[in-house]
């Protein structure tokens, strides 16, 4: 019986395992050094906030794996030998495979800051990071202040986490407005204000210079590059993005760039070795997507696709229209299609913001053809299916603006803003 070994028990690896099981009788082993069972990484924050317990982040009960004959092995793979198809574990044991799927995800970026490996310095990615945070920041008497470095999605989540335990937070963001490499100006500015409303000490345009230690090798303070200001703190969160977690294959003959290089079939240069999820790097981005996509659902989609290929139905990974979502403290964000932070040459943005400063949308369209290209929505839920269809049908922006109520996904009895949005949109057209 063919033995499929999957390194990594995150959403990509586990989805691949589940679908291979649905399609075949192959022997499946999932290897992880992080946890015994699959859990939802995106939910780690809620464990620290006390909304959930860790076991609630596990989408399948523990009996699920045995029932579906998916073997789980806890261990750290330190070397992959592709000639003999053998994995070598840090503990010294080995495992033979017929086909290997690398699904090891990401690791937090560190940019060589002085003091970046001190005690009390952590990312917020692995379960071990959560344990570390619980150790160094259990409450605001042990952790009198935390500093977060890096203004992205994980950074703001970490700020929300610490805030839930009343731990004062200083939030260093390199850019001059939060996440403005991705978000258009109006949205980014609204989130800046929202962060400050939560009493988080947001420092825009500030970089970390160094992290200083006390006599025990634990974090004592940080220095800001721009001002030289020293801020006393007990925890430093490094959340300046993530990169593929592939150090263990650097010595093998599997081709890597920033991630494991794969073709559209998710195959690496080495026969019978595949890579999916955050750690996989496409030779070229697909449909305007980045070559490496560290997004929950792309990992899942790659797992679904690769399961087909491994079970004899070789097909390309072919994601549909771009979409994503996030939550910035109390403000939900969804995006469908492409809205870039600055309109490209042929593009124009329509921006509407509610007076309460917690809701806004940005619609991107082609100023020559009027084609609808994408929407960002804050504080108003919208229907994925509807926008996916409109993008496929290549609707123009007028159609979308006039049919916006069809896409509303807010709970019943919520106020509707589509009429107001449309009237603002129509007024702007007259001005233009």
């Amino acid at each position: 019986m063919e033995h499929i070994v999957i390194i990594g028990n995150g959403i990509s690896g586990v989805t691949a395992a589940r679908h291979i099981r649905k399609l075949s009788d192959k022997k499946i082993t999932v290897v992880s050094a992080e946890t015994d069972y699959f859990f939802s990484r995106t939910a780690l924050m809620y464990v620290y906030m006390g909304h959930m317990k860790f076991e609630h982040t596990q989408p399948y009960e523990n009996w699920f794996w045995k029932k579906n004959r998916i073997e789980l092995k806890k261990g750290y793979v330190k070397q992959v030998e592709t000639e003999s198809k053998t994995l070598h574990f840090a503990a010294g044991d080995t495992l033979k495979y017929d086909k290997l799927i690398i699904a090891t995800g990401s690791k937090p970026n560190k940019f060589g800051w002085p003091g970046q490996d001190l005690e009390g310095v952590m990312g917020m990615y692995h379960k071990q990071d959560l344990e570390s945070l619980e150790k160094y920041a259990p409450n605001n008497s042990i952790c009198k202040r935390a500093v977060i470095v890096g203004g992205g999605l994980i950074g703001i989540e970490l700020a929300e986490m610490l805030n839930s335990r009343n731990i004062p937070v200083t939030f260093l963001v390199r850019e001059d407005s939060f996440w403005n490499g991705v978000l258009p100006e109006g949205e980014s500015a609204m989130i800046n204000r929202h962060i400050k409303n939560h009493h988080i000490d947001l420092r825009l345009g500030m970089n970390l210079k160094e992290i200083k230690a006390d006599e025990n090798g634990k974090v004592k303070s940080i220095i800001i590059q721009e001002t030289g200001e020293e801020i006393d703190c007990d925890v430093v969160g490094l959340t300046a993005g993530v990169s593929p977690n592939i150090d263990f294959i650097k010595d093998s003959n599997i081709e890597t760039g920033r991630g494991v290089k794969v073709n559209r079939y998710l195959e690496t240069n080495s026969p019978d070795v595949y890579a999916i999820g955050d750690c996989a790097e496409q030779h070229e981005g697909i449909n305007g997507r980045r070559p490496i996509e560290a997004v929950w659902y792309t990992g899942r989609m790659m797992g679904e696709t690769l399961a087909q290929t491994i079970c004899g139905n070789r097909i390309q990974y072919n994601p549909g229209h771009w979409f994503n979502s996030a939550k910035f403290l109390d403000i939900e964000y969804q995006t469908y299609g492409w809205v870039f932070s600055k309109p490209r040459e042929n593009e124009r943005h329509f921006h509407w913001k509610h007076e309460d400063d917690t809701k806004c949308i940005t619609v991107c369209y082609d100023k020559n053809t009027n084609a609808f290209l994408g929407i960002n929505t804050f504080g108003i839920r919208m229907r994925h299916e509807t926008f996916d269809r409109w993008l496929t049908e290549k609707r123009d922006v007028d159609y979308v603006m006039n049919h916006l109520p069809e896409a509303n996904f807010d709970p019943e009895f919520y106020s509707y803003f589509e009429a107001e949005i449309l009237s603002v949109y129509n007024k702007q057209l007259q001005i233009v």
């Binding site: 939802s40 909304h51 009960e61 959560l130 409303n197 696709t305 839920r381 996904f409 919520y414």
Partner: protein, 521 residues
């Protein structure tokens, strides 16, 4: 799990004062319970209930209005009371004891028997009862008052907690209104107008209201002319006509989380315990067996009970035993045949269990008919069956376990495992309703907030992460899963029946060919 449970965040000084105010209110009630004879009962009752309410109001305002609008679940799994800690168990034991005394030993609450005056806790409530209906309080009046105060005070808290969410606010306003008006005040006023009428909470339907077809109740209604007749006709219409229509249009939520008193208490005072319901597959299996067994028990019990007080001959009353049994069997058969004919596909392998259950009920009814005597069915007294139902289901299951175990089993264990009404509505909701929780394409990140907050123990994430709509009998439509979802994935909707149930393996966002390939079965 290596993580130790962290300390719950300290409460503010204002919240401490609020708690103290509420505890003083409770303390007055406790003193009364231990037979302190307060000089001015009306004053002390007002003081007790007023302080409890005031404490809850001050606490809620400080807890929620000092923060920005949003989801307020920080630390629920750290707080002892809401995570089966020591305080959770203490509250559970106190509530359970209260229910046992209330149902089985009301004299310890001070109920005066054989015309004696009330003492203790019950006597404290005499002034209010006299004011409303001109009679002294009973243990049920005390219970009803405390129940109503709990729904109103904690309903206020809930409205503040979800002040960004209109659905939650309206729904809570609705249960507060129905509790205060329909369950508490109207029955008292009805008594004032006509004191022969049996107690009737108009919104409480058979089979939840299992005593409405008791002999004394039916006689009570029928001996009261048109108003009584109207009430019992309303009772029959409620379950056979009104409720199916509303459930078809809105799902069972119109009742369970907008109207029902049990649901009202669970959603307000019980809100802090919603995350404690078990999401295990084994709990689901138990639920399906248990709740349908209770339904069968309640149908058989009610039929048997009505049967025993009906006569044999036509001269007595047009509804004879033979005709009644024939009507019941006929009705059940029509429902069964209809479901098997129209909905066979949706039921899948559950159809087998449904069929077995149906034929058992029919067989039991026939055995009853042919072995029954004047007051014996199944060779046991008809009234014994009714008494057993009242004791084990009506009192122990719904009260003692259902509410007493809030801090252990979660706030809806009665609704989930026992309520025969929920089971009927759930059956309609699953098969004949426009209601569903729509999943928003491929946005789910499997975080589990939805499942965690489902008081009915539905593993919402199981559906959401597959892009599948949630169409489950047990869903009471409280809407909290949708509220807590960080990615805007869930929406409660009434829409067309077509495509309502959409089992999928691959979600939106994928290559269309792959979706077709995997989703086709």
């Amino acid at each position: 799990m290596a993580l130790a449970k962290p300390d719950a965040t300290d409460i503010s000084n204002k919240q401490k004062i609020a708690l103290a105010i509420g505890i003083i209110g409770l303390f007055i009630l406790t003193l009364a319970l231990f037979n302190t004879n307060f000089p001015n009962k009306g004053l002390f009752l007002t003081l007790a209930l007023g302080l409890i309410t005031l404490g809850t109001i001050i606490y809620s305002r400080d807890a929620y209005l000092t923060k920005l609008e949003g989801i307020k679940n920080d630390g629920v799994w750290f707080k002892s009371v809401s995570s089966r800690g020591i305080w959770g168990w203490i509250v559970g034991v106190i509530l359970t004891t209260f229910y046992i005394v209330l149902y089985f030993y009301p004299k310890y609450l001070g109920l005066g028997t054989n015309g004696a005056e009330n003492t203790g806790l019950i006597s404290l409530f005499d002034p209010l009862s006299n004011l409303l209906s001109g009679r002294p309080a009973s243990q049920w009046f005390v219970y009803g008052t405390l129940y109503t105060v709990a729904i109103l005070a904690f309903g206020y808290k809930f409205i503040l907690k979800y002040r960004h969410n209109r659905y939650q606010q309206l729904r809570t306003g609705s249960v507060m209104f129905f509790q205060l008006g329909f369950a508490f005040l109207i029955p008292e006023f009805m008594y004032v107008m006509n004191n022969d009428l049996p107690y009737y909470d108009l919104k409480s339907m058979w089979p939840l209201n299992y005593y409405i077809f008791d002999e004394w109740s039916v006689k009570g209604f029928l001996s009261n002319g048109n108003i009584g007749l109207a009430l019992i006709v309303f009772g029959i219409l409620s379950i056979f006509v009104i409720s199916p229509i509303l459930t078809y249009k809105y799902g069972k939520r119109w009742y369970c989380s907008w109207v029902c008193g049990c649901g009202g208490l669970a959603e307000t005072a019980g809100d802090a315990f919603r995350q404690l319901s078990s999401k295990k597959m084994s709990a689901w299996k138990l639920e399906r067996w248990l709740i349908h067994t209770v339904l069968v028990f309640s149908v058989v019990m009610t039929t048997a009970m009505i049967y025993t007080y009906l006569g044999y001959s036509k001269n007595d009353f047009w509804l004879t035993r033979g005709l009644f049994i024939a009507l019941v069997i006929g009705f059940l058969s029509i429902v069964f045949a209809g479901v098997m004919f129209f909905k066979r596909q949706e039921l899948g392998k559950d159809a087998k269990y449904g069929a077995i259950g149906f034929f058992i009920v029919i067989a039991v009814l026939l055995i009853m008919h042919f072995t029954g005597t004047t007051n014996h069915v199944f060779y046991i007294k008809g009234s014994t069956l009714r008494a057993a139902y009242g004791l084990y289901i009506g009192s122990i299951f719904s009260g003692v376990i259902g509410t007493g175990f809030y801090p252990i089993l979660g706030n809806r264990s009665w609704c989930r495992f026992g309520c025969p009404m929920a089971s009927i509505l759930g059956f309609q909701q699953r098969l004949f309703s426009k209601f569903r929780i729509t999943t928003n394409g491929g946005q789910c990140i499997s975080c589990g907030n939805c499942s965690n907050s489902c008081e009915m123990g539905i593993d919402v994430r199981h559906y959401a992460q597959k892009g599948e709509n949630i169409v489950r009998s047990s869903c009471v439509g409280c809407g909290i899963c949708s509220a807590v979802c960080p990615r805007g994935v869930l929406k409660l909707e009434n829409d067309s029946m077509e495509g309502r149930i959409n089992p999928t393996e691959i979600l939106l966002g994928n290559d269309v060919d792959l979706m077709d390939l995997v989703n086709k079965k």
